[in-house]
């Protein structure tokens, strides 16, 4: 699903590369934790997958496509197959739960009929039944993140990228969020989650990839967060 072949990424004004000689393979339906200190390259990794950035060298294949060969106008089509969740939720403040999720579908031209059918399903999936008319400022952090996940998942993407989704959420609520992610993963969606949350990583025992200063230092199948700190 995601294939990094000797990828290096150096940003313009920085000396040290954000990612250095990264070789990775992530298969379909895998659940991967991306861990490492701030600045280790986790966010860069996710941006490269979305083609928000281009690698300085190396090749990246996502869902079988070579990103280097992907023309600019095909990039939106790729992004429709990838869902994104962020630490700051990124909801539209003037739209309610239903509209926020529907927005993702309206914007890619899906018909009303389709939206009306699919959005309620995904609202139930994330556990927000009955809250479809709430505005974001009427929701707790955990609930807002669920809306974001619903929006990311509503188009049944093949990959779900999560950049520190539990960063702004208390530990108890985080468990609920992770349950939703797990449910999504069980439907066959590949999940890549960048995180600082040691407790969650330790409790779920999924594949852990550790980055340090842009290099992959550990790639463990049923890993824990970290050893040497």
């Amino acid at each position: 699903m995601i294939h990094f072949d000797n990828v290096t990424k150096t940003y313009a004004n920085q000396g040290r590369p954000a990612l250095e000689n990264v070789n990775l393979d992530i298969e379909k339906s895998e659940f991967v934790f991306l861990v490492g200190p701030s600045g280790s390259g986790k966010s860069t990794f996710l941006r490269l997958v979305l083609k928000e950035e281009r690698p300085t060298s190396g090749r990246i294949h996502v869902i079988g496509r070579d990103l280097a060969r992907l023309t600019n106008w095909k990039v939106p089509l790729l992004r429709r197959r990838i869902g994104c969740v962020f630490q700051d939720f990124r909801l539209l403040p003037n739209k309610n739960v239903y509209q926020n999720i529907a927005f993702a579908l309206e914007v890619i031209g899906k018909p009303r009929r389709f939206i009306r059918k699919v959005v309620p399903e995904v609202i139930d999936l994330v556990g927000l039944e009955g809250k479809r008319d709430r505005m974001p400022d009427e929701l707790s952090g955990g609930e807002q993140q669920r809306v974001a996940m619903a929006r990311a998942f509503v188009n049944r993407p093949m990959i779900l990228l999560a950049d520190e989704p539990t960063g702004n959420i208390d530990p108890a609520t985080s468990i609920g969020i992770m349950k939703v992610l797990d449910r999504i993963n069980r439907t066959g969606t590949t999940v890549v989650m960048a995180t600082h949350d040691a407790a969650i990583v330790d409790s779920m025992r999924k594949r852990v990839i550790e980055l340090e200063y842009g290099k992959v230092v550990r790639d463990q199948s049923r890993g824990v967060y970290g050893q040497a700190y």
Binding site: L50, N72, P76, L92, F103, A104, V107, G109, R151
Partner: protein, 303 residues
């Protein structure tokens, strides 16, 4: 359904940016109106020129009892013998195409007709002071006028030779001056309009950056992301043009017609002329709004 979505986004954008959009509409309206007015002036001058080209060109005014010009003070009113002499002279001149005598009686009649609306002038002008004249048409205006004038000036019985063309030249200069002034202001305003379009789009894009970034993330095509802004720009331009059209119609009917009483155009601008100017204004407006929107979006809306 998609169209509905786009128009909904456009409506939201317009509402958020209302003051800037209104400013844009006003500037576009004024600059297009001024441009159109300048074009109307140009057309008016052209039409006037061609109209007068074929009409009376030279007037040789003959002495009356009260005239003071030429030899009149010395010799008094023109005699019939002098009239025939002058007529023969004129008919003999090479480039004169027609000679027409206007007697004093006829001249008085024309005078009363022309100033029919101005009672005081008619009442207080001494009819004896209105001279008879020869109205002459020349084959080639500029060149021949000089020749005929030099021959007639100072001839017995001739009070004054008036070259209509020189009068009209003054008038053309005035209109040209007005046109240049109007067009320069129009150009400044068009530049202002371009800057305003760019700024409005920039502001709009900034206001909507949350929606835009989510749209890009979720995989909306570039076209879809840019479309609401383009439409906003075009709508503002369209409204500006509509207002300009109204103003131009006003200019044509009110301004130019009222100037008619001061300057004798001889020929009015037709509706076809007005329509042509309005269409030119529309095309200018479209090009300006469209291209500026497009270029600004490429710069400020990351796609």
């Amino acid at each position: 359904m998609r169209a509905q979505f786009v128009f909904h986004e456009v409506w939201i954008g317009l509402r958020r940016n209302l003051t800037m959009t209104v400013a844009l509409i006003v500037v576009v309206a004024i600059s297009l109106s001024l441009l159109g007015t300048g074009l109307l002036f140009v057309k008016q001058v052209d039409n006037t020129r061609s109209y007068w080209q074929s009409r009376v060109q030279l007037s040789v005014y003959l002495c009356t009892a009260a005239s003071l010009g030429g030899t009149c003070a010395k010799d008094g009113a023109v005699t019939p013998a002098e009239i025939s002499a002058i007529r023969n002279e004129l008919l003999g001149t090479h480039d004169v195409t027609s000679v027409q005598f206007v007697s004093q009686a006829q001249a008085v009649q024309q005078f009363e007709q022309e100033f029919a609306n101005d009672e005081p002038i008619v009442k207080y002008t001494d009819k004896d002071q209105i001279p008879s004249s020869f109205e002459i048409r020349l084959k080639n205006t500029e060149a021949d006028a000089g020749a005929v004038t030099s021959v007639m000036d100072g001839a017995p019985g001739v009070s004054e030779v008036v070259d209509d063309a020189s009068i009209l030249d003054q008038f053309y200069k005035l209109l040209d001056g007005a046109r240049n002034a109007v067009v320069s202001v129009a150009i400044f305003l068009l530049i202002a309009a371009i800057l305003l379009v760019a700024n409005t789009i920039r502001l709009s894009a900034f206001n909507r950056r949350r929606e835009t970034s989510i749209m890009r993330l979720v995989g909306a095509s570039n076209f879809y992301v840019q479309l609401p802004f383009l439409v906003e720009g075009m709508i503002a331009g369209l409204f500006g043009w509509l207002i300009a059209t109204g103003l131009l119609i006003g200019v044509k009917s009110l301004l130019l017609s009222s100037l008619q009483s001061v300057f004798p155009y001889g020929v009015q601008l037709s509706t076809a002329d007005l329509v042509e100017v309005i269409v030119i204004a529309m095309i200018t407006g479209l090009i300006i709004c469209g291209s500026t929107s497009f270029l600004t979006l490429r710069r400020y809306l990351r796609v």
